[in-house]
Amino acid sequence: MQFFISGWFWFLEGILTCLMVVGLKFYMEDKGIPMPFWKWILFGLWILLAGFTIAFVGTSLGEGEPTAAKLGGILFGLTSTISGIALWRILLTGRNKT
């Protein structure tokens, strides 16, 4: 299981992130939603927040702190969800409906 704290894991994580960005780009193009740079920045920040939340819960469980995992999961999870919904609405702005 040492894979997940090795350099290979981060290499794979980088590839997955690239794929995710490409996938999102095509999705937005197909939906006629413009993606200027500031939307990408907001999206990147949200990904960091969501990633932080998941990693925080995992690390707290790993170090034997279930209360920290639970409360951190609720606090950061709610923040991620609410900001994610807000972000989605922002991303949809400027949608070409034709």
Partner: protein
């Protein structure tokens, strides 16, 4: 033909979009697994994973200050260890106190101390008359539950260098070896280079952190009662060759430490630090210089925490222990006094005074109320927090754990394993001049890392439940291995 291309293009786009979605899910899951592994990673047990000195990672230069953070604010006075160091005073109390003779039957300096500090006499009597009989009772009933942790503690303490019995003029200096080598001091080129060498040697010998200070004579005991070549009724003349102090030390094993007060032990780090100090002293003596180890639990001729502060190892905290950036309070130091010419380190200030000002987690969790909730006070001329050591020791004797309590060590937000969460929190608080992050993190710490009610840590006869801050590690659970 056109239709075919469109169909192909369409499926490639769809494929990439689906891959993107799948990657998001896989990447998220990967982060969760990364976190889990990072939380369990044995390499985050700093100070127990290797001996190469790679754990002294904090950039102390950035936080160096000219004056130590426990400032001198008045006329200073050296400590009378016979009465002011709780272990020595309790020892004398137990030998000399008889109800029939009262204070009159005790040595004059102890009488004088108790007359000035009657609350300490009450606490010492309470320990003898109430706590010990109850402890004995509960040991019979519950001690078997801690067979493995007792054995672990005793095993860690089983190897120890011999006690020093001669005065510094004799014991500190090199003696001609049987092979007849020279005892003349070698000529070092440059104190800075010598300091670098000594630090490397100390790390190689197993020290997790190393620092060097000019020895401030204020830290040397005025009187002592444990011998080491000194008479208890004569004030200690600070030997001229005690010019520099080298700090070495190691942390206690992390998982048992979090399971204090019942499963942790100080013996593990004490033993390792003692052996390292004697080895460093031996190294220095073999090069012709004087060296004297001052080692835990009680073999000191001086106060240790202020020397750590001077040497930039950390800052003094609310429970009077030194907080280090790498290990928090989980650091058991030893000192080597020497005349080896060395270049001292600078003290550091990385926000501990401000943090302790409002955090108070250790005070809230201390079962004996020994840690002050108040501000720093002047103690023998220096500004610092004062801990009530008699109350503290009374709690040590109110649990079944090995050699003490250490809950303040376990609950402190600085005493965390070196994973990414805690490293980031340390960085943020050390660099935030506004104090906002400290307040936010303290609030989170209190809610995210709660412990049992302080009363539950006591033995049942004293109204407790033998509770521990965290569950013991699997290898110390007696019930899983022994019938």
């Amino acid at each position: 033909m056109t239709n075919k291309t469109e169909k192909k293009g369409f499926s490639r786009r769809q494929f990439l979009k689906a891959s993107g979605a799948a990657s998001a899910v896989a990447g998220g899951a990967g982060l969760g697994l990364f976190g889990y592994e990072a939380g369990k990673d044995p390499r985050t047990y700093r100070g127990w994973e290797n001996w190469e000195g790679v754990n002294q990672v904090f950039n102390r230069k950035k936080y160096a200050v000219d004056q130590p953070t426990c400032q001198k604010v008045g006329p200073t006075r050296r400590v009378d260890a016979r009465t002011e160091v709780i272990f020595y005073r309790r020892g004398s109390f137990m030998r000399q106190w008889r109800e029939e003779t009262g204070l009159e039957g005790m040595e004059p300096h102890i009488q004088e101390y108790y007359r000035k500090n009657p609350e300490d006499l009450e606490l010492d009597i309470y320990s003898q008359e109430v706590i010990f009989p109850k402890l004995m009772e509960d040991r019979k009933k519950y001690q078997d539950q801690f067979r493995l942790s007792d054995a672990w503690s005793n095993a860690m303490g089983a190897v120890s260098p011999p006690r020093i019995t001669e005065p510094p003029e004799v014991s500190d200096f090199p003696r001609r070896s049987r092979r007849g080598g020279s005892t003349e001091p070698v000529k070092f080129k440059d104190p800075k280079k010598t300091s670098k060498l000594i630090k490397k040697i100390a790390h190689e010998l197993g020290s997790t952190l190393v620092g060097i200070a000019k020895l401030n004579p204020d830290w040397v005991y005025k009187y002592t009662s444990i011998g080491r070549g000194f008479q208890s009724d004569e004030p200690i003349e600070v030997p001229k060759h005690w010019q520099n102090a080298i700090v070495v030390g190691t942390p206690m094993s992390w998982d048992p430490m979090y399971a204090n007060p019942n499963y942790g032990t100080s013996n593990d780090a004490y033993s390792r630090s003692r052996i390292i100090a004697f080895r460093v002293a031996s190294f220095i003596k073999q090069l012709g210089y004087a060296a004297r180890p001052h080692t835990p639990g009680t073999d000191y001729d001086l106060m240790v925490p202020p020397i750590l502060v001077d040497a930039g190892i950390g800052e003094q905290s609310r429970p009077s222990i030194v907080v280090t950036p790498e290990l928090g309070l989980n650091f058991r130091p030893a000192i080597i006094t020497t005349n080896l010419p060395l270049h001292p380190d600078k003290p550091i200030s990385f926000g501990v005074q401000d943090f302790c000002d409002h955090c108070k987690i250790c005070a809230e969790n201390c079962p004996s109320d020994a840690i002050s909730y108040g501000d720093r006070v002047e103690v023998r001329g220096y500004l610092r927090w004062q801990v009530n050591t008699a109350k503290c020791l009374n709690f040590w004797n109110s649990t079944l754990g090995s050699m003490g309590c250490r809950l303040c060590v376990a609950v402190c937000p600085y005493t965390r394993k070196s994973n990414w969460i805690h490293k980031a929190a340390l960085k943020v608080t050390a660099d935030d001049p506004t104090g906002i992050s400290e307040k936010a993190l303290t609030m989170m710490q209190k809610r995210f890392y709660p412990g049992p009610e302080p009363q539950k840590y006591y033995i049942p006869s004293l109204g407790g439940e033998n509770a521990s801050y965290r569950e013991p590690p699997w290898w110390l659970r007696t019930e899983d291995f022994i019938e």
